[in-house]
Symmetry: C2
Subunit: 107 residues, 2 copies
Amino acid sequence: MDKKKAKKLEMRGWKIGDASDFLGLTQEESVYVDLKVALALKLRDQRKRKRLTQTALAQAIGSSQSRIAKMEAGDPTVSLDLLVKSLLTLGLTGKEIGETLIGGKNG
Amino acid sequence: MDKKKAKKLEMRGWKIGDASDFLGLTQEESVYVDLKVALALKLRDQRKRKRLTQTALAQAIGSSQSRIAKMEAGDPTVSLDLLVKSLLTLGLTGKEIGETLIGGKNG
DNA sequence: TGATTTTATGTCATATTCGACATTTCATCA
DNA sequence: TGATGAAATGTCGAATATGACATAAAATCA
């Protein structure tokens, strides 16, 4: 199992249980994934709070529905940059983004 | 002046004064830049605290001296991902990274 | 139930970011 | 002063992330 696949699987894991450390992930990799998951959850939360579809949000941030879905799923091909920019477009402040990171399960 | 150049100039600005909003930057862009600057400053701070040269840090994170320099300078070609991964390698926790974002000048 | 909307997943060409390298600028010190 | 190590800057081909698109799967509702 290659590293990318392992990450993808771990990220999917949080849907069912908690984001736990997994096969072959170093400490940093694990925390990095946790940070991404925290932002991903926040994105979905904020989108739903605003009653936007993925398609509507995609338009707002100049992206596509599939990319929003991948963001929210924690797909390994989405960057922190895109997640952060999306949250900023949804109106979050830098402070709130920092708090989101602190709130997530990360060591 | 294209947007990329404007960002680069703004990011350099913090060396002299404060990171201020600039020509043609939207609110989100401005906050995004501020977040990057906060991480960039933290990276330099942590590197110096550990008495590492840019070259030494580059080896530690599997990168190059020039990329470290660009990170610390807030160069627009460096991603949040690389900054965050670097800070994690330096031993920061997710909590500390969140606090770094909160600490920075961002609305 | 079936129709309709929303979300998930896979792929692709393009754009962006990457490490590496060369070179320049800056700082430190003998 | 010049020598030496560190940091800054520019450029490259390679690697990765991007929006777009097609389509499958799920959810919502009449």
